[in-house]
């Protein structure tokens, strides 16, 4: 694989217009990735789903070269109807369009020259891969006291013009004091068997609010990895919702550092999996100062041959007194071939804290089904109703009404 990486990298350098300094940085990341390769089950974070095996099994012709000098046509049929929104369109590994038509242009700044280094400690070779083969990195700055009027939807699209089987995306967001951003990731990939590697870096200053909704609903054969790094200052709020249902493999990883007092992080997720899907959510919440709060709720509905994993970690520093941390993961296994794995982890060094986690998994409650059937529903309807209620619980946690309704429609839940 290392020869392939090297030659694809050389091709990339030839066709694109990176500065020599950028190339130096990229080269460094490439060397790191060649050294470490894809993460495997020997690494604790990848224990449940081994991505190196999954990639080996699914993508026989792994290639990394994307021609960033070519542009792609935007197919408007994929765009979300009935909801006014700003867009970033990302096709085949390249950002084709950034459009903030609904906003005050003076309040938003798009910078395409960001620092090339990564500002946090990581042990993740996928970020090296991302940094090595990425096109331009954009930074979106929301200025002080500005709340976006409309949500921003990032469209993740691929079409048959795609050249390589690995595409990378990185975006940096900076939310200045008292600003607000609603961000929707919308996955509509039509091609199969690509490895999509996404890395977002968020910096939330004082009193800012970030809402990130990831919608991966439409069945496709892609393998996806998404990493969100969130830094939070005083009194900032981050809300993340993950609908993990479409891809063959999808791992969502969130690292959230609560650096400022009274900051809080909310993570809610739904796995709705069928045939041979393998999805995972891994979260790390670092409570680093006093009076911070985190809340996590993850629910899975697992059909035939599917597998979901949840690894959640709450870390409480010895300074972080009065921390409130909560984690709950629940799973319904519908078939004898479905599998649920969880590792809800607490690492606590302060004594005046309230931290708890819970995890439960099992089949649908026969008594509830009986109750519904005795009231005239058939077996299938009763099952659907119970699952509907089970998932609604998570969707109800979404604080933005417009997007909540969008998500309810996309999943097809009944209220």
């Amino acid at each position: 694989m290392s020869e392939q990486l090297q030659s694809d990298f050389d091709k990339l350098v030839k066709t694109s217009k990176f500065s020599s300094e950028e190339i130096k940085f990229k080269k460094n990341f490439l060397d790191n990735f060649i050294k470490n390769g894809f993460p495997n089950r020997k690494q604790e974070d990848w224990k449940f789903l081994d991505i190196s095996q999954i990639i080996k099994k699914n993508i026989s012709d792994l290639s990394f070269f994307n021609d960033y000098s070519q542009s792609n046509k935007i197919d408007p049929s994929f765009l979300v109807d009935g909801l006014e929104h700003n867009k970033i369109i990302f096709i085949n590994g390249k950002i084709e369009k950034i459009d903030f038509n609904f906003e005050d242009q003076n309040k938003i700044e798009i910078i395409d020259k960001t620092k090339k280094d990564i500002s946090f400690d990581y042990e993740n070779s996928l970020i090296d891969l991302n940094s090595a083969f990425i096109d331009k990195v954009f930074k979106i700055l929301i200025k002080k006291n500005y709340s976006l009027k409309k949500p921003l939807i990032i469209y993740h699209l691929t079409n048959d013009k795609i050249k390589s089987t690995n595409i990378n995306l990185r975006l940096d967001f900076e939310l200045a004091e008292n600003s607000c951003l609603k961000l929707v990731d919308y996955f509509a990939n039509t091609t199969a068997k690509n490895f999509i590697n996404i890395f977002y870096n968020f910096n939330l200053e004082k009193d800012s609010i970030l809402k990130n909704y990831k919608i991966d609903k439409f069945r496709n054969n892609n393998l996806k990895y998404s990493f969100n790094n969130i830094e939070q200052d005083n009194n900032s709020v981050s809300e993340t919702f993950i609908l993990s249902a479409g891809s063959d493999y999808f791992k969502n990883e969130i690292n959230c550092n609560l650096n400022g007092e009274y900051s809080s992080a909310f993570i809610n997720g739904i796995f709705s999996l069928k045939e041979n899907q393998q999805h995972e959510i891994r979260t790390t919440i670092n409570h680093l100062v006093e009076n911070t709060k985190s809340y996590q709720l993850i629910k899975s509905v697992l059909g035939k041959n599917s597998k979901s994993a949840y690894q959640g970690r709450i870390f409480v520093n010895s300074k972080a007194q009065k921390t409130d941390g909560y984690q709950l993961s629940k799973a319904i296994l519908l078939d004898e071939t479905s599998e649920f794995n969880a590792k809800p982890e607490l690492e606590i060094y302060a004594d005046d804290v309230k931290c708890s986690h819970g995890s439960a998994s099992g089949s649908l409650d026969e008594n509830s089904i009986f109750y519904l059937m005795s009231r005239g529903l058939n077996y299938q309807q009763s099952k659907e109703l119970l699952i509907n209620g089970f998932l609604m619980d998570v969707v109800e946690k979404i604080t933005d009404v417009e997007i909540k309704n969008l998500i309810i429609n996309i999943i097809g839940l009944k209220q």
Binding site: E345, A350, C355, H357
Partner: protein, 480 residues
């Protein structure tokens, strides 16, 4: 001065010129085939036993010491340890209690252990496991009447080779992890229990373990077999005298429960935890595993872990037989610089298997405490269930409490429920107790005992009282 102290005084005055060093028969330092042959030879073991050891040793050479655990420790030089040491004769044991560390005596006093018992604990009287060789085992007569075999491992190898051959290494194979394999290669002695078909063991079986000779890693091997429809409750209690050097303890305990049998295994572990600055103390790296082999069998582990510098163990149950039950009740207390990484594994293989885990962790001072557990429900384990509850209590912000459960559910008929909380002793509770005349330490003791009640209830009477006091003593100096 109460009578006991007077007695101690008397004993102090009793100035027999006691012998200087305990002369031990020691195997040469280091770990190699010759040492293993030496151990096997001195114990007059049959060839198959030596083969077992050598097979383990061969495997050991391929294994690496694991290092994924939370408490890290300085590298152990396995070539610098003695793998065998046995007391030459009774007269070499300490003659009186005043040879012992006064702090240890103080602890005994607080625990309310009678003088005779104190002496027994320290090998002054006869019946005790002293170092690596069982000197004597008691209650033989009563047990023989029921056909129960309760003897040392070395004796069992000589007298009941068929049973040992049949079961030894079936739960913890020689090809297991590093420390278990090390034990298989060099184990010296331990207990062997066999309960025949349909027999309910009339008494609690117990052994006191003790580590004495300096630089002797202790490698105990215990094997308990409960035949069809039998029941046994086994107690393991441990104390160790003051030591400055770190001592390794890598025991293997195997339990096998056949159809309808039940084994209850209780441990109170109170080994030397090192001093206030974290110097010295025992490394307790023990492998304990039970196999519910037959239908309707049950294995229950209860542990109170208050000692050792580092505790690193996971008493586990393999629920192979249909309808079998596994239970794990644990209290782990760490104070000063102690570290613990403990928990359990429940592996559900048979149908309708049930398991329950109750773990209470308390950390104070500069200590670090981790619950690490695995619940794995196999795809064939239909209609199984697990309930896990692990609570941690923190005292002060220099210590840590961690929970790392691994949950794997591969069966849609089965349920797993897991709960964990971390909290501190509330000011209100403390205030309430103090208002009613308890001093802060007594108040903490009371609250902690309440926190641990669910587990303490599981202990047999003999242990429950001692354990309750131990909980209080372990937390001394952690309030205020």
């Amino acid at each position: 001065m109460d009578t006991r102290e007077k007695d101690i005084e008397k004993l102090k005055d009793y100035k027999y010129g006691f012998t200087t060093d305990i002369e031990n028969i020691k195997a040469p330092k280091g770990l190699n085939e010759d040492v293993i042959k030496f151990i096997s030879n001195i114990k007059k073991e049959p060839q198959w036993m030596l083969d077992f050891r050598l097979k383990a040793f061969k495997r050991l050479k391929l294994l690496k010491e694991p290092n994924w655990q939370k408490p890290k420790y300085p590298k152990i030089d396995y070539q610098d340890l003695y793998y065998y040491s046995a007391p030459k004769s009774m007269k070499d044991k300490p003659k009186s209690l005043d040879e012992l560390d006064p702090k240890l005596l103080e602890t005994y006093k607080k625990l309310g252990i009678p003088l005779q018992e104190q002496a027994r604990l320290n090998g002054i009287a006869v019946d005790a496991v002293f170092d690596s060789v069982s000197v004597a085992t008691t209650f033989k007569g009563e047990l023989t009447k029921h056909g129960i075999i309760f003897c040392s491992m070395s004796e069992a190898i000589q007298k009941h080779p068929d049973l040992v051959k049949k079961y030894l290494g079936t739960v913890i194979p020689v090809t297991d992890h590093f420390f278990a394999t090390l034990n298989s290669a060099v184990f010296t002695d331990g207990s062997f229990v066999y309960i025949p078909e349909g027999v309910k063991c009339p008494m609690e079986l117990s052994t006191y373990f003790r580590i004495n000779a300096s630089e002797t890693g202790q490698f105990e091997r215990t094997l308990i077999i409960a035949d069809r429809g039998s029941y046994v409750s086994y107690l393991e209690g441990c104390t160790a005298p003051m030591r400055d050097e770190n001592q390794l303890h890598a025991a293997n305990v195997e339990l096998i429960a056949l159809d309808d049998a039940e084994i209850k295994y209780s441990t109170v572990q109170n080994w030397y935890p090192g001093d206030e600055n974290g110097k010295g103390g025992i490394y307790n790296f023990v492998t304990k595993r039970g196999l519910c082999k037959g239908k309707n069998s049950k294995i229950s582990w209860t542990q109170v872990e208050t000692g050792s510098a580092i505790t690193w163990k996971y008493p586990s149950c393999i629920l192979k037989g249909d309808n079998s039950i596994g239970e794990f009740y644990s209290i782990a207390i760490t104070n000063n610089h102690q570290k613990a990484d403990t928990g359990t594994k429940m592996i559900h293989l048979g149908k309708n298997t049930k398991s329950k885990i109750i773990s209470k962790g308390i950390s104070a001072g500069f200590s670090d405490m981790t619950y690490r557990g695995l619940v794995d429900i196999n795809s064939k384990a239909k209609n199984s269930s697990n309930y896990t509850q692990c609570d941690s209590l923190l005292m002060g912000n220099k210590c840590g409490a961690h929970t790392v459960p691994y949950i794997k559910n591969k069966n849609f008929d089965s349920n797993i429920a897991h709960e964990a909380t971390t909290s501190k002793i509330s000011e209100e509770q403390l205030h309430y107790c103090q208002q009613r005349g308890l001093n802060p330490e007594e108040a903490v003791g009371l609250i902690v005992n309440g926190f641990c009640k669910e587990v303490l209830q599981q202990l047999p009477m003999e242990f429950a009282v001692e354990a309750q006091k131990l909980v209080g003593i372990s937390l001394e100096g952690s309030v205020g």
